[in-house]
């Protein structure tokens, strides 16, 4: 066993920290949460320039060819800094395109994703808010070499900026996963949502929207498998962010309670507070371990759906609780808008359900356990 980071990972971590402290400060997070499009573009451009958008793209498609474990190290830092940038959306789309795309689709899309020319974001959930791929209703009909798509996808992160959506539809009764261009397209209406995550999230409504047949990644059972893998990889990516977020909140709360004095001593010297913090630290460590095991399981040949589910169950439930306990330890100051703590809490709540909440992943895990 080796719980340590590789040299590459150490390097990723330290350069990420340095960059994010400057470029994803709480001020930037707030500005973007208030809807500043330009700030999103600036940050995303720097992220692309750093090569993060091509980190897991294979070398043959002009990427760095790093592992999902390496990416998870980076995502942890993004989470710790609440970086409002679509790296998860882009990276997990890359993952699925690499795994399921045809050679021509890969060589068309991946270099453009790496260079930031295009941005792909997953669009899976519909009205019923379910992450179960089987519950897909958005319908497509086939005509000659194209698909005509009608229906609505909800909760699409960065949907307003994305050039493409990685989405699951039904062609008659056959599920199909496709990368469809939504940039400046007609017949797709974007409804912005006021979402706690502090990043732009919208619904996409397709009205007889025409897509080329070549955009289809997978159909039938393979499409369902691919969608499940997309959700698994998304849930591990979110869990990695949550792990980082939890760590940041623990550190901030240790800092605060060690310095805030009441009754002539640090409030962090009261056992009630120490026990709160000990619980928070345990939770955040548990999540961290489960995330890295899950991330390690992803390779070009497959992944462990169980490890992914375990990571997301723990991350979903434990990290939001870490945030709530942090509020309690901060007292009134942490209840203000001005204090940054609620930025973390909002994000943790949004990520808690994204790519499936704990109930969803418990069902997956139970099934995997033969129950």
């Amino acid at each position: 066993m080796d719980f340590g980071l590789t040299e590459t990972q150490e390097l990723i971590r330290s350069s990420a920290r340095e960059f994010l402290e400057q470029n994803s400060s709480p001020e930037v997070v707030r500005v973007i949460a208030s809807g500043d499009d330009e700030a999103i573009s600036t940050l995303w451009k720097s992220v692309v320039d750093l090569g993060w958008s091509s980190l897991t793209v294979s070398e043959e498609h002009s990427g760095a060819g790093l592992t999902f474990s390496d990416l998870a190290v980076l995502l942890e830092e993004l989470g710790a800094h609440l970086a409002p940038t679509p790296l998860v959306e882009s990276s997990i789309s890359v993952w699925i395109i690499e795994r399921y795309g045809s050679d021509s689709l890969k060589s068309e899309l991946l270099p453009q994703i790496s260079s930031g020319e295009i941005l792909v974001t997953p669009a899976i959930v519909e009205r019923d808010a379910s992450w179960d791929p089987e519950s897909t209703r958005v319908a497509a009909t086939q005509s000659d070499s194209s698909l005509i798509v009608s229906g609505e996808k909800r909760f699409v992160a960065f949907g307003e900026r994305a050039t493409h959506a990685l989405t699951l539809v039904r062609i008659y009764d056959q599920p199909a996963l496709a990368v469809i261009p939504i940039w400046q397209a007609e017949n797709v209406e974007k409804t912005p949502l006021d979402h706690a995550s502090g990043v732009p999230v919208c619904s996409l409504s397709f009205n007889e929207f025409e897509v080329g047949q070549s955009n289809v990644l997978a159909t039938g059972n393979t499409a369902i498998e691919a969608a499940k893998e997309l959700i698994a990889v998304g849930s591990v990516a979110r869990s990695a962010q949550l792990a980082g977020l939890g760590r940041a909140v623990v550190n901030a709360t240790v800092d605060y309670t060690a310095n805030r004095e009441q009754f002539g001593r640090a409030v962090g010297s009261f056992q009630a507070i120490q026990h709160h913090l000990a619980e928070m630290a345990i939770a955040s460590k548990q999540v961290n371990h489960l995330v890295h095991v899950a991330a390690r399981s992803f390779s070009r040949d497959g992944y462990s759906i169980e490890a992914a589910a375990r990571a997301k169950i723990a991350a979903s439930d434990k990290i939001s609780q870490v945030c709530w306990t942090a509020h309690q330890c901060h007292g009134a100051i942490g209840f203000t808008w001005e204090h940054n703590l609620h930025l973390y809490t909002r994000r943790a709540l949004a990520w808690k359900t994204d790519y499936g909440d704990s109930a969803f992943h418990q069902s997956i895990l139970a099934e995997a356990l033969g129950l």
Partner: protein
């Protein structure tokens, strides 16, 4: 033992309920945001209606505008108001300051202020906490200097709820720098319009202006505004906290939210329609219903004991802890049920239940913090209630 309400209590509850049916706007879900002028106007209007019916301070003696009824009537009143998320009663005046004044005020002070509280004429706020004095309130630094015929108050209070709407503040100030912390404190009433009082809004994490920083710069306060003896304000000030410490609002809010969730699960219109087929949903809602009911009984017990002349300090702390935590459990489960919709802010496109649960969850993060944190309450329960050693 008897766990139902008396006929009189039931009748009152019904009357209050029909009054609120009339007084609240159609489709009112609350809670009121007192920084909004329309909600504040509603608050004032309802308060007048309640006062006219003599409902604001029923347990007070008749001579001060009350009806000599049992504390249980007040509890029923508070519960029903909270259950409807109705604005219109000044807790600071009716629940905390009034009873304190009755106990510690001079006859003149009682005459002057109790009637106006009973009639709902003025809004009070509570100036206790300071930036460096939260749980350790006795360390407070705001000074009042005796200038012969008046006090001169200088310093700053923080987290003062409703200071932006208040006419008067009751506040703790330091009047003796040399005495031990608890001994040099006095309780004063201050006119919020007095020169030198400045109210600065603080926005809370739900995005609402509910509390403030209040700065005092050489504010002249008449001598007759001192409550109780000089330097003996701690005792009177703590009495206020005893009155403050009931969980009944939270227990009622929890019940209202739980019922809303049950309706939502049953409703044909809810978007998250997988809820109906999942058996764990029903079980979890049932589990929460147990907690809500238990919290409610804890709060009734407190007012029952108060009615018998006891000061149920540990029980009051228990009810505060249980009710604030139960409310949060209900709200958390609400967010869980709403799933992806749970994190849409109020006013968002496609929000379910108007994004209310998210906002409530943000807002009531404060429950376990305010009015003495739950850690402090648990210290009281363990030490005063269970008699465990302090050290």
């Amino acid at each position: 033992m008897r766990f139902d309400f008396t006929t009189e209590e039931k009748e009152f509850k019904n009357q209050l309920s029909s009054f609120l049916d009339e007084a609240l706007p159609e489709d009112w879900h609350g809670p009121a945001d007192e920084s909004r002028d329309d909600h504040w106007a509603l608050n004032q209007q309802i308060k007048r209606g309640l006062a006219e019916r003599g409902w604001l301070v029923m347990s007070w003696p008749k001579e001060y505008g009350g009806a000599d009824s049992s504390p249980m009537m007040n509890t029923i009143f508070a519960e029903q108001m909270a259950y409807r998320r109705a604005p219109g009663h000044d807790r600071f005046g009716t629940r905390m300051f009034g009873p304190t004044l009755m106990r510690f005020g001079t006859e003149e002070q009682r005459k002057k202020y109790l009637g106006s509280i009973a009639r709902g004429e003025i809004q009070w706020c509570q100036g206790y906490s300071e930036p460096n004095s939260g749980s350790d309130l006795a360390s407070l630094q705001t000074r009042a200097i005796d200038k012969g015929d008046y006090f001169e108050v200088t310093g700053a209070k923080i987290w003062t709820s409703l200071a932006h709407r208040a006419d008067m503040m009751f506040m703790l100030v330091r009047t003796d720098l040399d005495a031990t912390p608890h001994k040099g404190i006095s309780l004063l009433m201050v006119d919020m319009k007095a020169p030198g009082v400045e109210v600065n809004p603080i926005i809370n994490m739900a995005g609402v202006h509910s509390f403030n920083q209040v700065v005092f710069d050489q504010v002249k306060v008449p001598k007759e505004n001192l409550i109780g003896d000089m330097n003996d304000g701690w005792r009177a000030g703590m009495t206020v906290l005893n009155f403050e410490r009931s969980g009944i609002d939270y227990a009622a809010w929890a019940r209202a939210a739980l019922e809303e969730l049950i309706d939502y699960v049953k409703s044909e219109d809810s978007e998250v329609n997988s809820l109906k087929s999942d058996p764990t949903v029903g079980r979890k809602l049932a589990e929460l219903q147990v907690e809500v009911e238990a919290a409610r009984l804890m709060c009734y017990d407190v007012s029952y004991r108060q009615g018998k002349g006891e000061i149920p300090s540990s029980e009051a702390s228990m009810s505060k802890v249980v009710a604030t935590e139960t409310y949060i459990k209900v709200l958390d489960y609400g967010l869980e049920l709403l799933g992806m919709y749970g994190v849409l802010e109020p006013g968002s496109n496609q929000a379910e239940l108007q994004g209310r649960f998210f906002k409530l969850r943000m807002f009531y993060t404060s429950g376990p913090i305010l009015a003495g944190t739950n850690e402090i309450q648990k210290n009281i329960i363990a030490q005063r209630g269970l008699g465990l050693p302090r050290k």
